[in-house]
Amino acid sequence: MFDVFIDQFWQLTFSGISLGFIYVLIALGYTMVYGVLRMINFANSEIFMWGTFGAIVASRDLFKYTQTSDPVTGPKLVLVLVVQLFAAMAFAGLVAVLVEFVAYRRLRARGTNRLATLISAIGMSIVLSEVMRLLTASRPVGSPRILEKIILTEIWGAQIRLDTLITILAAGAIFIILERFVKLSRMGKAIRAVSMNEDAAKLMGINLNRVITVTFLVGGLATGAAAFFYVTVYEYTKFNIGFTMGLAAFTAAVLGGIGNIRGAFFGGIALGLAEVYAASILGTQWKSVTIFIILVLVLLFKPSGLFGEAVTQTRA
């Protein structure tokens, strides 16, 4: 049972970290929206799913690569990857803003209860995934191989592959950029102000609606970047991949302390590792069950997460 785990420990660790970086970015989507709205964005998983399609649309329809074409090399490779990244982020960002407009804005303006907003967000997430299901006729969609999966080097028997290494470095860079944006920029300051005290922020002349839209957009961009890395590594997507990825990333956000951006980072990496280790010990089919048990345990014993705030109290 533990043979695979022990034999391949370093290999698993490496892939766990790279998966963890994907979770970090999706968790950022959950945590940012939670920070300002004190609400879980239920549609974030579907924003991720739309992002993966954005990346595939770019390589398949824009650059006309097919499943059988050779991997790209040289400067063209960088161009294609960057365009894919931007396409995924644009898709996800637009969908995120759409979610805010359709599912949240009207209810917020009227000040109706949380239950109504939750249900509206759930409806939005169903609509997003169903539209994609009908568009793709429920079929999985493969991505053309853009980045050749070269093995760069081996450390302690772990193969360091180009695509996973790029995921770690680039996702880390995007995370730092977004973290700095929230920390340093004028808009970031406004976002933090709203998340501290909405009424006081309003009185200080902050345009609440704009801040919330920007928060959804930034969360969507992070989720979209995650979607691009997912497509690059796994080269596959389907209308229903959002659920598992969303649950995992949400667990990561809760583990790190939801609403806390750095918490999302540690939570994401920890969850990536936990998932890969658990899959090697129990078998991949129990992956989601493990994630769910982690979520319940965290909520049971440390609902504030490792770095976060208490979630049991009701807040208006």
Partner: protein
Amino acid sequence: MKNFNLRDFGAGIWERANRPQRVAIAISAIVLASLMPFAGGSFLATPIAAYDAVLVYPVAIFVLMSLGLNIVVGKSGMLDLGYVAFFAIGAYTMGFLGMHTSLNTWEIMPIGIGLAMLAGVLLGIPTLRLRGDYLAIVTLGFGEIIRIVALNVSWTNGPNGISGIPMPPDLGPIKFRLDDQKGFYWIVLVMILLTIWMIRRLSVRRPGRAWEAIRQDEDAAELMGVPTFKYKMWSFTLGAAVGGAAGVLYGSKNLFIAPEMFTLNVSILILACVVFGGIGNIWGVIVGGVVLGYLPDRIRFISDARLLVFGLVLIVVMNFRPDGLLPRKKREKAIVKKGADA
């Protein structure tokens, strides 16, 4: 006409009626409902599936489950997105015990209900202390986990499911046949009536008042001495019990169950039924279950995009008519009136 409210209109008739009139209204409603299976030849006929089968599943079972989910979502204001889990537990209890023991459907029913309630308690302990959106996402995960477990353990027969589940034995003149499902319809109708009776009894007593207080403001309720955790747990497990009962009947009716029947979609469909008709109002929920259960089978193009339509229903209803078609009775009105009388 601006303030016309169908719910209050109906409630007004009921309020003005004296006891014999009320009994007459109730009996004629029940008789009308039990005669529904004979209306198959009319414009109600469904193009694809047999009409009497459609009446049992989805229509009647949706109504039953919506009533159960309404105890959780409508009465105490907790969003349970994993309601399908209790349905699945009921169905798998039926499938497993029906295949491996000589127990019949009626004997398995209490076991299925008990196991669903047990699952409700086990899930409720860690999660009911949390705020609403956490409960929502944990129940969402739970619903999916039950499906994954059913898919991967050996005694559920994995993705192949359990087939050849025994039908219920005949109850006197009520016969249970695959090609004539009136018997099933009547049994589900009886369970719907029992559930309605249970909810109505509870609503006017201590649990109902506690749920209402929790739904409006949990902190205030706790401060007023309402043991909120206890009553939330009751609402959660009662909802689970109804879901489990629906599952046992479904397993026994369908003869075959497989994990793919118990996806998140079922939870969403049931939630849509509750929301569409009017959260918290029994009659609204029934209308929601009937309309959303029946229409996709009647109108062909909806059945392909059923879930899309239901997702849109959730968004549109919440944004434009958050109380649904038949909004719940405004409780404060009744209280003020009582005070004036005294």
